[in-house]
């Protein structure tokens, strides 16, 4: 096979298509713990590839890639959670997270033919790059995915919450010169937009137009934490561990992590039985309405949460209210915390999917909303129809009254 062979995504090739094979899933861990999102990504990769290998009669692998120092013990756990292969770069200089070094090592691993030959000897001769690569959409993975995909010269879709692999026929003015073109085994990457009401499907596609012909692999994405379920860990699952000796450039060691401090958040949803959250419904009088919410929360001994749009500080509120309540640490949803209190009260929250994902495991849900058509109605046990300005004072008064009854009794 000539060196410049390129897969055109046509039907005729079978083994040739394996120039790009497998899904590489980039693991994250901190302070000796694998992050839950890593296992969630492995679970989704496992489900996708069990189906994929059956559909395409192939034997492509779910490859977990893990970088760090003294991390060999993680490998077994990753296999139990669905990895066929664990590529482990264990090195003292990988103890800290440094974007430059991590980007280079992940890229080295992605391009390494020797690793590829160990993963699956049958595809190794043609191997150029992974077919897909997954990262976590968090403070680590968002940036690492961005820089790795520049290094690998391919495309990235961020903050994904649904993945489908499909054979597609796409016509694109620039990429395919306006001609209908087959793209096999394409990863459809679904991203919810900022409002939480729209889904944008993003594809990473080769350019087939002759003047700009280019192959774009791996098809990369970052995955929102808390979206996918990990598989049930199976201690009997077998897999292979490949140790990789990273090449680290001296110059990159000039970047130093001077300190690493774990921060205790001022917001703690775990210790409270109840959470009262508010959303854009406060907009008519943000300061006054947030005060109402805090009164209700006080009566219920509840922590206060917010919906995502509130954290963007677009509503006019006083500095002290804004810096206490309109902060990312309070966001409930896929972009914030996933909680399951005994009581969840949603005040002026319409119920975008991304918010629902954060609160749907609550035991009992009360919504206060003047619009009976809001999606939150489908997610609550009691829907109190009314404006928060009118309803909350009545609730607070009633709660106080019942409190007195209890004390008197």
């Amino acid at each position: 096979m000539s060196e410049d062979w390129r897969c055109s995504g046509c039907d005729s090739c079978k083994t040739e298509c394996e120039a790009y094979s497998h899904v590489y899933v980039i693991m994250e861990h901190i302070d000796g713990k694998i992050l839950p999102v890593s296992l969630e990504m492995l679970g989704e990769a496992r489900r996708l590839f069990d189906d994929y290998n059956a559909r395409y009669s192939s034997n492509e692998k779910v490859v977990a890639v893990i970088l760090g120092n003294d991390i060999k013990d993680f490998s077994k756990e990753l296999i139990e959670y669905g990895a066929d292969i664990v590529v482990c770069a264990d090195h003292p200089e990988l103890k800290d997270l440094r974007n430059t070094i991590h980007t280079k090592v992940v890229s080295q691993i992605a391009l390494d033919k020797e690793i590829a030959s160990k993963i699956e000897p049958n595809y190794a001769k043609q191997f150029k790059k992974p077919r897909y690569i997954f990262f976590a959409a968090d403070s680590i993975g968002r940036h690492l995915s961005s820089t790795v995909l520049v290094e690998l010269e391919s495309g990235l879709a961020s903050d994904i919450n649904k993945l489908v692999i499909k054979d597609l026929n796409v016509t694109h003015q620039i990429k395919t010169d306006g001609k209908a073109t087959d793209f096999k085994k394409t990863l459809e990457m679904y991203r919810p937009d900022f409002s939480g009401f729209l889904w944008t499907t993003i594809l990473c596609l080769n350019n087939t137009t002759p003047a700009i012909k280019r192959e774009y692999y791996p098809q990369g994405c970052s995955i929102i934490p808390g979206v996918f379920e990990p598989i049930k860990p199976d201690p009997k699952r077998s897999g292979e561990i490949i140790f990789y000796e990273p090449k680290i450039e001296k110059n990159d060691l000039k970047v130093k992590v001077l300190s690493h401090k774990i921060i205790k958040s001022e917001v703690d949803f775990e210790i409270r039985k109840a959470v009262v959250s508010f959303g854009r419904g406060i907009k008519d009088a943000p300061d006054e309405n947030i005060k109402l919410v805090t009164e209700l929360a006080k009566q219920l001994d509840a922590e206060i949460g917010i919906s995502l749009p509130i954290s963007k500080k677009l509503l006019p509120a006083s500095q002290s209210i804004s810096s206490t309540y309109m902060i990312p640490a309070r966001v409930i949803g896929t972009s914030g915390s996933k909680i399951s209190p005994m009581l969840y009260v949603a005040v002026g929250i319409s119920g975008a999917m991304q918010h629902i994902a954060g609160m749907q495991d609550s035991e009992f849900v009360v919504a206060i909303n003047p619009d009976e058509n809001s999606p939150i109605k489908n997610e609550c046990d009691i829907f109190i129809n009314g404006r928060m300005e009118d309803v909350i004072p009545l609730l607070v008064e009633e709660l106080k009254k019942q409190q007195q009854v209890v004390q008197a009794g």
Binding site: L35, V150, K175, L315, F364
Partner: protein
């Protein structure tokens, strides 16, 4: 000691603030009726650059890729950071670019069209209207600069030519972490939304006021500082920008299907005292229930 040479990349975005934003009945953004503004995260990046102007007398250039309308973002950024130079990279061919192609355009502008070598380039944490924070790190990697993300504060050592930055890591399932990272210049800093500038000395506060006044005056005549480059003037490789240089495309946009009702809500009337009593009783009951999870 050489003065610091800084660049900020900014973006024009829909203005999501109340009164300026317009939503369609189905809850999605009505782009035609919504005004545009400097993206809030871009604004924080400009603030962070201004900190270096006040503290280290840095020179600041601001650039953006966008339609001619994006001048507005540059004007607003200048008002925030007292920029000395404004660049707009604007060409129909750039339209539809994904983050990789956008990063190539910005890299070319920063490397080839800005005066001198950059010490620090700033970007916002993300855009509010879709792009999810990739453009910053991708531009950084193309520039070959050390990338520092989620930066909540920073200081520069002018003698050693290093930066020390505090970075906030927000991770699911574990407590947040703040790391202090030291890196030699040049660096690319992506600013966390919780970034704050601290002006601690009297001389800093005086400088702050002086430059703020200057910024206000400059922004009134921002066109004097503005250079607009089309694709030929920028001299960028045409196969690496716009749609031709974008690996990803938006394939389709659809409404997220409503999930099936997971609970059967009892609807209560918020103005009926009897209903309020019932709601409170139910809430109390929920809180006192023994739950075995």
């Amino acid at each position: 000691m050489e003065p610091l040479n800084l660049a900020v990349i900014v973006k024009l975005e829909p203005d999501f603030s109340e009164g300026n934003v317009s939503y369609k009945p189905d809850g999605t953004l009505n782009r035609n009726e919504t005004k545009n503004t400097l993206g809030p995260h871009s604004g924080i990046a400009a603030k962070a650059a201004f900190y270096a102007k006040v503290k280290y007398d840095a020179k600041i250039s601001v650039c953006s890729m966008g339609p001619p309308l994006a001048e507005l973002a540059l004007e607003q950024a200048q008002q925030t950071c007292d920029a000395d130079v404004l660049h707009l990279y604007s060409d129909r061919i750039f339209a539809g670019a994904d983050t990789l192609a956008t990063a190539e355009t910005l890299r070319t502008g920063i490397t080839d069209k800005m005066e001198g070598k950059m010490d620090i380039v700033f970007s916002g944490h993300r855009a509010s209207d879709g792009e999810t924070g990739q453009t910053g790190p991708q531009t950084a990697w193309k520039l070959g600069f050390t990338f520092l993300g989620n930066v909540i504060s920073y200081d520069v050592n002018l003698e050693k030519r290093t930066v020390v930055a505090k970075c906030l890591l927000t991770l699911n399932g574990v407590p947040n972490v703040v790391e202090e990272i030291e890196a030699p210049l040049p660096v690319f800093i992506s600013i966390d939304p919780s970034y704050k500038s601290n002006y601690t000395t009297v001389s800093q506060r005086i400088a702050f006021e002086k430059y703020q006044k200057e910024a206000y005056e400059r922004a009134k005549n921002y066109k004097q500082y503005l250079k607009v480059y089309n694709i030929d003037e920028l001299g960028v490789d045409k196969t690496l920008v716009g749609l031709a240089g974008s690996p990803t495309i938006v394939y389709q946009v659809e409404r997220i299907p409503k999930g099936k009702a997971t609970r059967q809500a009892e609807v209560l009337d918020g103005s009926n005292p009897e209903h309020i009593r019932k709601a409170v009783a139910k809430m109390k009951e929920a809180l006192s229930a023994m739950v075995i999870k």
